[in-house]
Structures are given as structure tokens and as C-alpha cells.
């Protein structure tokens, strides 16, 4: 949009501006202080300390026509060095220059001799800063000097006719006549103390207006070419100010902030709000500002290599400038750099919480309105002002897209109904990360219990894939745990047979919800308590055999009813059997009733044909089903062979297990790595911690350290210091664990020399003396020491304790009533 508008501006300007003008430049052989143009703008005079030349402006080049700095070298004095120069507006051959020795020199170009110097006024006591011809009165020349006076010279009588002097003797830095059509007799003067005065030529005794424009010296001022009430001033304070001087007191209309002290300013013809400036130092550019947008230049010319000293508008599209770099440049406005176009109009950031914050350029309705108004009122000029309008209408808005607390997802189909946007924001949001960081349990239970707990936690925040993975992890590694600890929790992936008691079935439904999209059916046939007992005892007897590991898998929901004390279950009755699952949920710390209810939905599989009742009685079969399905979930393609074994596993289950046990570990490792690669460092690290020794050795230490460091860093960003500390402690990596061991020592200071005692608490290395001796036994205290905060006496904790039983005063005898908390 912006670019398009810019292009349009260019097209418009191409039509409007004369096409034959080219950017051009000439080297003036010396630093140029000032320049002026003749009336028809065909010639330029450039003046400086060592330069005084007339240069003709041709279509495609500058041509030096005459050098005024001529004559015998001994005759060339300070009069030839100019601080300012002015070309008479009416007499083509008359020039005036201001010299630093206080001279005002009149030059006549029509003189036939080499030296064109006509007359020298030596009225000023100090250097002259500015000379200006009256716009209409050809023989009136006004000069302003460092000595605080302004003098009106009559060039016909060759004498000073009037002297204007402000109330103070502050130096005059700039004077400018009001444009002839606006105020014939008025001129403005700028002073070094920040004062600007408006004078009437007819009243030399006092000024018309007087106001403080700047707090620092005013270096330049310029009357608006069209609006006689507008006066621009600029100074060392780096500001260009536009005043309405018709108001009393003068009213400040606009302030432009530049980046350096302003040397010269010049309004752009035919553009009400545009003003060009050059700086005294630092900034070598010639900038054109739109006063309505005071912070960024509208256009910028970067040709000068040293500070530019003077700017002049030839017409609205052509700007001349001179500089300390010896150069006179003609700039074509069309080719100016437009800083506004290179400005980045937007900013975007994602916060740690997933909030997206962006600043963007505002398109206000005001733009359209103004535009419409201009079209009807000014016709042709509209297109020109459009670029200005777009330039000045530069407001930004800032919006924050926030992630707020998760809405109530009690709705069964919430997951299905979620719009893409919601899912997207879920991706960015770190809410679930926070929740999980707090809810995950990383220690204190068996691996399987932890997996189960964490699975439920992940499911609670709708991270179903993560939840599923936790379950798989639990499945894979529960067997190893159970063979050693004899206690395990069954993962909630259970389908009961129709002949199981109804209430038990309901309970297990509740457990199954955390795996809504991936059902693994375990066929169970615990018709009676004798069967249960048989299973349990079977496990006991085969605890060293591989087959027992399978059985544990499905035994879990029976055995775990006995809690974590490692006893085996021998069923006593139906009632007890029914209550076991409830016991599990309590122990796991995750109440199944809190699981999301939408997960009930996939329960249609419960009636599926996966578990024909006629095969139910065999324990081995149902165990195999657990394992094979778990494998199928993780690696659906490679591990498809268990489906073949589904029926005959009761025969060959040990062989099956022996062949695949290693695969599980590597699969688990793959899963963890996969999470890490997806940037889910939380799952990767948590699984790494929970699975611990099972997988640790299979992942290279550097990666692990990297993950841990990343996760710890993330946790600290959320200020979860406690959790970060726990993760550090559980990392098993020395490089990570040392994080918790840094900055944990406090050294006491020697009471004599105040030097910290780093070697021990009782010997000062510098004093070579034993300090902090026990007040009771007068021996150095090498173990636990205690001392009174009041008198600083103390000693062995046991000694002090004994002392205080019978005394209240300090054992040292200082008379202090010692207080110990």
C-alpha cells in the first residue's frame, strides 16, 4: 500500500517537475560559506574564506564564469573572504558580501577591471554575519553583525542611513526581509541569546515584536513565502520552530526536531509545510521537513561529504546547496531519499506466554476525508498533496493478542469444534507448558506410576499426543520396574469383558479416557477371585522368567490394589476386587473423575469385536494383546507382526518378548529425540527424567545437557524456580547439577582485619591468628558454631547450650544478656 502510494507520487512528480533538470555539482576549490542566486536564477555566487566565484547554472552542468578573488596577492585581504553573500534582486551586477573583519563589501560585476570590488563599508566593529538586499528597493542593503547592530546601507549615497540596535548588545546571527508582497518594511532578526525580533524599517528606535524563540542561540530564520504570519527559526538547540507572529505573544505552531544544530533553513516554494535545512555540524545531509511530521525528514539529500552550509530553492523541485566539502550541488527533489519510505512501520514480538504483540501503521478515516476534501477544492493539486498526506498521517496502533485462561471445555465435542484459530493459538500459547511444568511428577513414584500421572496431566491440558506417549512409555518400562519392585499400576488402557461386573467396567472406562484416540484393548477374564489369585501367584513363582513381565502388565490393575508396599495380591472377595481401581487413582494422585469427559467418546470400541468372549480364559493371550497393541501404537508399520501373533502368543510369548525388548528402548529414545526436535523440550526432558536409567545411556550426553539447559532456561523464564531446581537435581548430568551448587558458600570475615576467611572459619590467613574461639572452652570451633548476634560471643553449640541452662549473661563476661533463637 505504502509502496504503491510512493510510486504514484513519483509518477505525479514526473509530470509536474521539469524533466530536463539533472543533479549536478561543481568543486569550488575551497569551503563555501554562503551562496546566492541572481534574479533569474541563471547564476550562483559562492563565497567562502578562500572562494569567491560566479558560477553559471546551465541545463546539465555548472560552469565557473568568473572568480572575484583576483588581484595581486598582497592586496587580497579579509575583504575577499566572505561569511555571507547576497545578490541584488534588482541590479543584476550588484553583489554584497559580509566579511569577518566587520566590512560589508559591495561588488559591481559590470566593472571592466579585474577587481570588481566597488565599495567597502567599515561601519561594523565585529564580523558581519548576514547581508540582505531589500526585495524591491534596489539600493537598500541591511547587514547584521556580531557587534549587536543592524545597519541599513544606502548604496547610492554609500553611507549607513539607519542603525537598529536591540535592547541588549547580543550578536545578530540572521536577518531576513519579509517577502515584498507580504510586508514591505518588515524584517526579522535573530539573536545569539535566543531572541527573535521583528522590526519596521521606518522605526529604528524600537522593534515591533520581541520574543524568545529558543533557549540557545538562533542561527537562522526564514519568512514563509506565502503566509506573512509564519516565521521559522532554528538554532543550536537542534530545533526548527514555526511561529505565528501575528499572535501576541507569538504562537508556536510546529517544532521540528533535527539531530544537530541547525545552520540554515529555507521554506520550499509552493509547499506550505515544507522547509529545508542544513546543519552546522555532525549531519552532512540537507533535509527537507514537513513541519507536521516533526521527527523524520520528508526528503533527504546525502551528497555532501562535509557539513552543508547554505541551501537555496531554485524552484520547488530543484534545490542548491553548498558545503564545507568545496561542493556546490544541484539536487532534484524527485531523486531525494525519502526516509519515511524506509521506515519500518510495524513491530511484532511473541512473548514468553505466547502473547503476540504488534505495532502497525494506522490508516485513519481522517486520511480519506481530507483527501476527498482536497479533490473537490483544489483539483489539480490533490495528487501532489497526497504523498504529503500519507507522509504526515503516520500514527501507529499497538495491539496485543493475548492468550487467556483456557475456557471451560466440559463440552464433549470441544476438541472437535475447535476452530483452526484456537488450535493455532494453542500452539503459540505457553499455558499448557506452565500447567504441565507444575503438574508433572518427576520422582517419588515408580516409573510406571509417574508415566501414568503425567499422562493424565497432559491429557488434562488437551495434549493428547503427549499423554499417549506417556502411556506408551509407561507400558514399555513398567515391566522392568515391576519385575524388581513387584508393584506397578496398569495403564488405563483396559477393556473389560462383558462378564466382568458392571460397576467395575464403569470405573475402568473412567481410566481409559486419557487415551481417546488410541485404544488398546486388554481382554480380561477375572470372573472370580480364584482366577485372580492364580494370576498373582503365577507371577510370584515366575518372577525371574520373562513371561512374568508380560503378566505383570495386565496384573497391574489387580496387584496395585495392594498399594505401593510391594505385597502380592491374593484376592479375598469380589468386593475388594471392585475397589482396587479406586485405590489406584488415589495413589496416583490423579482422580479419574477429573479427566476430560470428552474422552468418553471413543468408547464405542468397547462393544467391538476385538475381544471375542470364547477366547477370554487364557491369561497369556490377554497379556500379549497389551504388548502387541502398545507396539502397534508406537510403530504401526514396522511392528505389524504382533497382529499375527495375536492368536498364538500364548504359545510363543517368551520368544516374542525376547526379540523386541531392545526395540522398545530404542523406540523410546527415538520418541524422546523426536519431541526434542519438535521443540517440545518439556516432554523430552520430563520423559528423560522419569525413564531415567532406561534411556539415559542411549542418548548422548551433550544433547541431554542441551535439552536440560534449554528446559531449565525456559522454566526460569516463567519464574518456576522450584521446578527448575528439581529438574536440575534430577538431571544426573554433572554439568547441569553443578548449577545448583554454585554460589552456595558464605565465608565469615575475620573480626580483626575484616578479610573473608576462605580456608576455614577459625583461622585468619592474614592475621595468622585463631579467631572466634569458644567462650566456654577457649578452643577453636571446628564444627557447628553458634554466637550471639548482640555481643558476637559464642562457641560450640553444645557448650553454649549447657551454659544457658543456668545463666543468662554472656559466658565471655561482657555482661550482655545473650539471646539465641
Amino acid at each position: 500500500m505504502q509502496a504503491a502510494m510512493h510510486n504514484m507520487t513519483k509518477v505525479v512528480q514526473d509530470k509536474v517537475s521539469p524533466t530536463h533538470n539533472l543533479p549536478m555539482s561543481i568543486n569550488c576549490d575551497g569551503p563555501v560559506n554562503a551562496m546566492d542566486m541572481n534574479k533569474d536564477m541563471s547564476k550562483v555566487v559562492v563565497a567562502g574564506r578562500q572562494v569567491f566565484k560566479i558560477i553559471e547554472v546551465e541545463d546539465d552542468m555548472f560552469v565557473e564564469t568568473s572568480n572575484l578573488r583576483v588581484g595581486k596577492p598582497k592586496n587580497i585581504n579579509l575583504n575577499y573572504s566572505a561569511a555571507d553573500v547576497a545578490w541584488n534582486h534588482n541590479d543584476e551586477n550588484m553583489l554584497a558580501s559580509a566579511a569577518t573583519n566587520g566590512a560589508v563589501v559591495i561588488w559591481n560585476l559590470s566593472k571592466q577591471v579585474k577587481s570588481k570590488q566597488e565599495f567597502v563599508f567599515m561601519e561594523h566593529k565585529r564580523s558581519v554575519n548576514r547581508v540582505v538586499f531589500h526585495n524591491s528597493e534596489a539600493y537598500q542593503l541591511l547587514s547584521g553583525s556580531q557587534d549587536g547592530t543592524m545597519k541599513l546601507h544606502d548604496l547610492r549615497r554609500k553611507q549607513v542611513t539607519l542603525t537598529f540596535m536591540g535592547r541588549s548588545s547580543e550578536s545578530v546571527r540572521d536577518i531576513q526581509f519579509c517577502p515584498a508582497n507580504l510586508g514591505y518594511f518588515s524584517f526579522a532578526a535573530a539573536y545569539e541569546n535566543g531572541i527573535v525580533q521583528i522590526w519596521d524599517m521606518r522605526r529604528p528606535d524600537r522593534c515591533e515584536k520581541h520574543f524568545t524563540a529558543h533557549n540557545e542561540p538562533v542561527f537562522a530564520l526564514d519568512w514563509h513565502p506565502e503566509d506573512k504570519h509564519w516565521l521559522a527559526t532554528a538554532g543550536r538547540d537542534k530545533m526548527i520552530k514555526v511561529w505565528d507572529i501575528n499572535k501576541q505573544p507569538a504562537q508556536l505552531l510546529y517544532v521540528v526536531q533535527t539531530i544537530a544544530s541547525v545552520g540554515r533553513i529555507k521554506w520550499r516554494p509552493q509547499r506550505r509545510y515544507h522547509i529545508a535545512n542544513c546543519s552546522l555540524l555532525l549531519d552532512h545531509n540537507v533535509n527537507v521537513w514537513d513541519v507536521r511530521r516533526p521527527y523524520i525528514p520528508f526528503a533527504c539529500f546525502e551528497q555532501h561529504k562535509d557539513v552543508a552550509t547554505c541551501v537555496l530553492w531554485k524552484d520547488p523541485h530543484i534545490l542548491l546547496s553548498t558545503g564545507k566539502d568545496y561542493m556546490l550541488h544541484q539536487h532534484i527533489f524527485q531523486s531525494a531519499k525519502r526516509p519515511g519510505d524506509f521506515v519500518i512501520p510495524s513491530g511484532v514480538d511473541i512473548s514468553i506466554h505466547g502473547d503476540v504483540c504488534l505495532a502497525y501503521k494506522e490508516r485513519t478515516a481522517a486520511v480519506k476525508g481530507k483527501e476527498a476534501g482536497k479533490i473537490s477544492m483544489f483539483g489539480r493539486k490533490t495528487s501532489q498533496s497526497r504523498s504529503e498526506l500519507f507522509f504526515t498521517q503516520a500514527n501507529s496502533s499497538l495491539a496485543v493478542f493475548q492468550q487467556i485462561a483456557e475456557p471451560n471445555t466440559e463440552d464433549e465435542f470441544a476438541a472437535q469444534q475447535m476452530s483452526p484459530t484456537q488450535l493455532a493459538s494453542e500452539d503459540v500459547s505457553m499455558t499448557s507448558f506452565l500447567e504441565l511444568a507444575k503438574k508433572y511428577r518427576l520422582k517419588g513414584l515408580t516409573t510406571e506410576e509417574l508415566c501414568r500421572h503425567n499422562s493424565a496431566a497432559a491429557a488434562a491440558v488437551d495434549k493428547y499426543q503427549v499423554a499417549q506417549t506417556w502411556q506408551i512409555m509407561g507400558n514399555i518400562f513398567c515391566t522392568k520396574t515391576s519385575s524388581t519392585k513387584s508393584t506397578s499400576l496398569q495403564v488405563p488402557r483396559i477393556n473389560v469383558t462383558p462378564n466382568a461386573p458392571m460397576d467395575r467396567q464403569d470405573v475402568e472406562k473412567g481410566k481409559a479416557v486419557s487415551s481417546p484416540d488410541n485404544e488398546v484393548e486388554v481382554v480380561r477374564s477375572d470372573n472370580d477371585k480364584e482366577k485372580n489369585g492364580e494370576i498373582s501367584t503365577g507371577t510370584d513363582s515366575d518372577s525371574d522368567g520373562e513371561s512374568s513381565e508380560f503378566e505383570k502388565n495386565q496384573l497391574a490393575d489387580i496387584a496395585s490394589g495392594l498399594g505401593h508396599n510391594g505385597d502380592f495380591f491374593f484376592g479375598d472377595g469380589d468386593n475388594e476386587t471392585l475397589s482396587y481401581p479406586l485405590g489406584i487413582t488415589v495413589q496416583g494422585g490423579e482422580d479419574w473423575t477429573q479427566l476430560p469427559s470428552e474422552a468418553f467418546q471413543p468408547r464405542h470400541e468397547i462393544t467391538g469385536p476385538a475381544a471375542p468372549p470364547d477366547r477370554l480364559d487364557h491369561d497369556s493371550l490377554m497379556v500379549a494383546a497389551v504388548e502387541s497393541d502398545a507396539v502397534a501404537v508406537m510403530t504401526p508399520i514396522e511392528e505389524s507382526e504382533p497382529s499375527e501373533q495375536y492368536l498364538n502368543l500364548n504359545i510363543d510369548c517368551s520368544a516374542f518378548h525376547a526379540g523386541t525388548v531392545l526395540d522398545y528402548t530404542s523406540t523410546a529414545v527415538d520418541i524422546i529425540c523426536c519431541f526434542a526436535e519438535q521443540g517440545d523440550i518439556q516432554s523430552a526432558v520430563s520423559m528423560l527424567i522419569v525413564l531415567g536409567d532406561h534411556v539415559r545411556s542411549h542418548i548422548d550426553g551433550e544433547s541431554q545437557e542441551n535439552w536440560f539447559m534449554s528446559y531449565i532456561d525456559l522454566l526460569s523464564r516463567f519464574r518456576l524456580w522450584t521446578i527448575a531446581s528439581e529438574v536440575i537435581a534430577l538431571s544426573h548430568l554433572p554439568q547441569v547439577m553443578q548449577l545448583n551448587q554454585s554460589s552456595t558458600s558464605i565465608h565469615t570475615a575475620c573480626p580483626h582485619c575484616m578479610r573473608t576467611m576462605e580456608r576455614s572459619g577459625w583461622l585468619c590467613d592474614r592475621c595468622k591468628s585463631v579467631v572466634n574461639m569458644c567462650s566456654i572452652c577457649h578452643c577453636p570451633v571446628k564444627g557447628l558454631a553458634v554466637w550471639c548476634q548482640g555481643c558476637c560471643h559464642g562457641g560450640h553449640i553444645q557448650h553454649i547450650q549447657d551454659w544457658l541452662v543456668g545463666n543468662i549473661l554472656c559466658p565471655e563476661g561482657c555482661g550482655h544478656m545473650c539471646e539465641y533463637t
Binding site: 500500500m1 509502496a3 533535527t258 539531530i259 511530521r293 521527527y295 523524520i296 526516509p339 521506515v343 519500518i344 512501520p345 510495524s346 513491530g347 511484532v348 514480538d349 511473541i350 512473548s351 514468553i352 506466554h353 505466547g354 502473547d355 504483540c357 505495532a359 502497525y360 501503521k361 490508516r363 503516520a394 501507529s396 496502533s397 499497538l398 495491539a399 496485543v400 493478542f401 493475548q402 492468550q403 487467556i404 485462561a405 483456557e406 475456557p407 483452526p420 484459530t421 484456537q422 488450535l423 493455532a424 493459538s425 500452539d427 503459540v428 505457553m430 526434542a676 519438535q678 521443540g679 517440545d680 523440550i681 548422548d700 551433550e702 544433547s703 534449554s710 523464564r717 516463567f718 519464574r719
Partner: protein, 326 residues
């Protein structure tokens, strides 16, 4: 879950060029053409103004927060050729350091990963990049890469300190890899590496056909590779990836937008990219398992669009909108 859009009336008088949230996401800093930097406390969900930092003498282009281990430190750069580092002490913000050794507008600032110390890179329109560092005792040291990008440098972004290849290069582990990426007006993306205390060009990535406007090195949280997102005036966003072991970078165009793309920004975990363009939209992108980048969200940020969303209150996710006037 729910996107609540809150418009912040910043009180800036001109265009806002950057908005940055700090490490903990509690403070928001904005900078504008009006020479000011404004800070807001956003921890409560509301935007409470904290401070108005004035010190720049021209438009302020970009901001960067330092890691909190150095305190509340903010860097800013602007048209006045200055880089100012601000620090909060007892609730008041003051200049900590001012760097003014550039010859033109400074367009970009970026703090290095905290492991490298308080180090700052800044890219300028004068084509050079400065790397400013402090030893902590108040002394600052600057290294300048001259002519890094002809015409000008627009953006810099540091590589995460634990870059993936360090994992395999045991020898280099002791000294974290110091690298950053820059983009400039020469349409190039360059990667710089510190070697014996000097900054040398590591890679030159060619792919854009116009000025590169922003570069962003993805945080490598567990990621086994280097990922850089760049956006350009040519309306394209390019994702550059490197496997972490070789020196070869592959490019993939994320998307060609209909307008200039101004900014790219990675989420904390480095798996989501926010892209903001000239069409006043921000889009969120995520890489699928197959390596394809898909747009997962399309949030309009134009005022009119927001109004539309509010009116369609059927969608529960936009039914609340807060406008906070500060």
C-alpha cells in the same frame, strides 16, 4: 486458547517502529518516530505505563531487552546514529551507556545470548555492524565490522549460544560459538563468526531480490539444526536451515506475500514464526513433520478487521475485546 485482542493506546505521537516484550513477558517496550521509548507493565493483563525514556534525538527504530541476569536493561537505536543502553535502578530508568560511533542511522540492535556476557550487536545504514560489549566494570568495548552490507544493514540477530554444531565439536565447547546473522540493503543475508577476537564473514546467503528487512535466528531448544528466518522487501520470507555440522545452508521460501514483509519473530520454543507485513496482518507459521511450513493462524491487525471479528460474536473466541486507554 482464546485470543483476546487488546489495543494499547501508547500515547506515541508518531509511528511506532518496534514493540518488544521482555524475558519474562511482563514488560512491553515500544519505540516511535517521536523519539521516545515507552515502557508498560503488562503482567496484570493490563498495560500500565511505567516509564517514558527520552534521550534519542531522532526516531527510535528498534529495541532489545537484555537477559535479566544483567538487570532490567534495554537497548535502543535510532536515526540519531546512537545506540543507548538503558538500565533500571530502583524503579528509575537511566542511560547506562551511549554508543555513537556510527555515521548514519542505526537500524537494528540485538543482545547476544546471556552466556556471552552483556554483548550487543547493532547494524547501521552506514553499512557497518558494531559489536559492543562490557566487562561489567563500566567499561565498554566496541568492535566494528566495516562495510558489512553496502548501502546499509537493516537487521541483526544472534545465534543461540548452544548452537547445535557445538554438540559434536567437543573442542569448541568451552567457548560458546559467537555468531550472528545480518541482513542488508545489498539483498544479502550474512552470517558472522568471531575468530580470534575478530569478526569474520562465515556465510553469505543469497536469495532475496530486494532489501532484507529482518532476520531472526531461531532459538535452538532441542533443535538439532540452525534455522534462520529472513524477510525482505521482495515480499518473501525465506527459511534457511543448516544441519549444524556442515557449512551448507539450504533455503526454502516460506511464502510470497502480497506486500512487503517487515518483521519475522520466533516464538520462545523456536517452532512458530510470526510474520508481519505491509498488509497490516500478522501470520503465524509452523513447520509440519514433513518440513512444510503452514500458516496456522491469520490474525488481522487492521482496525476494521477487528471490528468485524467483534461483531461476529458467534465465534466465541473473539467475543471479548478490551480497549485500554492509557
Amino acid at each position: 486458547m482464546v485470543s483476546v485482542i487488546s489495543s494499547v493506546d501508547t500515547g506515541h505521537e508518531d509511528m511506532i517502529h518496534d514493540a518488544q516484550l521482555d524475558y519474562y513477558g511482563t514488560k512491553l517496550a515500544t519505540c516511535s518516530s517521536d523519539r521516545s521509548i515507552k515502557l508498560f507493565d503488562v503482567s496484570s493483563g493490563q498495560q500500565v505505563p511505567i516509564a517514558d525514556l527520552r534521550g534519542h534525538e531522532g526516531p527510535v527504530w528498534q529495541l532489545c531487552w537484555a537477559h535479566p541476569m544483567y538487570g532490567s536493561v534495554l537497548a535502543s537505536c535510532g536515526y540519531d546514529r546512537k545506540v543507548i543502553i538503558w538500565k533500571e535502578t530502583n524503579g528509575s530508568w537511566d542511560k547506562l551507556y551511549e554508543y555513537s560511533n556510527h555515521d548514519s542511522s542505526v537500524n537494528s540492535v540485538c543482545f547476544a545470548p546471556h552466556e556471552l556476557g552483556l554483548v550487543l550487536a547493532c547494524g547501521s545504514s552506514d553499512g557497518s555492524i558494531s559489536v559492543i560489549s562490557t566487562t561489567g566494570d563500566g567499561n565498554w568495548d566496541a568492535k566494528k565490522i566495516n562495510n558489512a552490507h553496502t548501502i546499509g544493514c537493516n537487521a541483526v540477530s544472534w545465534a543461540p549460544s548452544t548452537s547445535p554444531n557445538a554438540l559434536f565439536d567437543q573442542g569448541a565447547r568451552q567457548q560458546p560459538a559467537k555468531r550472528f546473522v545480518s541482513g542488508g540493503c545489498d539483498n544479502l543475508v550474512k552470517i558472522w563468526r568471531e575468530e580470534d577476537g575478530q569478526w569474520v564473514e562465515d556465510q553469505k546467503l543469497e536469495g532475496h531480490s530486494d532489501w532484507v528487512r529482518d532476520v531472526a535466528w531461531a532459538p535452538s531448544i532441542g533443535l538439532p539444526r540452525n534455522v534462520i528466518a529472513t524477510c525482505s522487501q521482495d515480499c518473501r520470507v525465506i527459511i534457511w536451515t543448516n544441519d549444524g555440522t556442515s557449512n551448507h545452508w539450504t533455503s526454502r521460501v516460506l511464502n510470497k506475500f502480497s506486500d512487503v514483509v517487515w518483521h519475522v519473530s520466533w516464538s520462545v520454543t523456536g517452532n512458530i514464526l510470526a510474520v508481519s507485513g505491509g498488509d497490516n496482518k500478522v501470520t503465524l507459521w509452523k513447520e509440519s513433520v514433513e518440513g512444510q511450513w503452514t500458516c496456522i493462524s491469520d490474525v488481522n491487525k487492521g482496525q476494521g478487521q477487528i471490528t468485524d471479528q467483534r461483531s461476529s460474536s458467534v465465534e466465541p473466541n473473539y467475543n471479548t475485546r478490551r480497549r485500554l486507554d492509557l
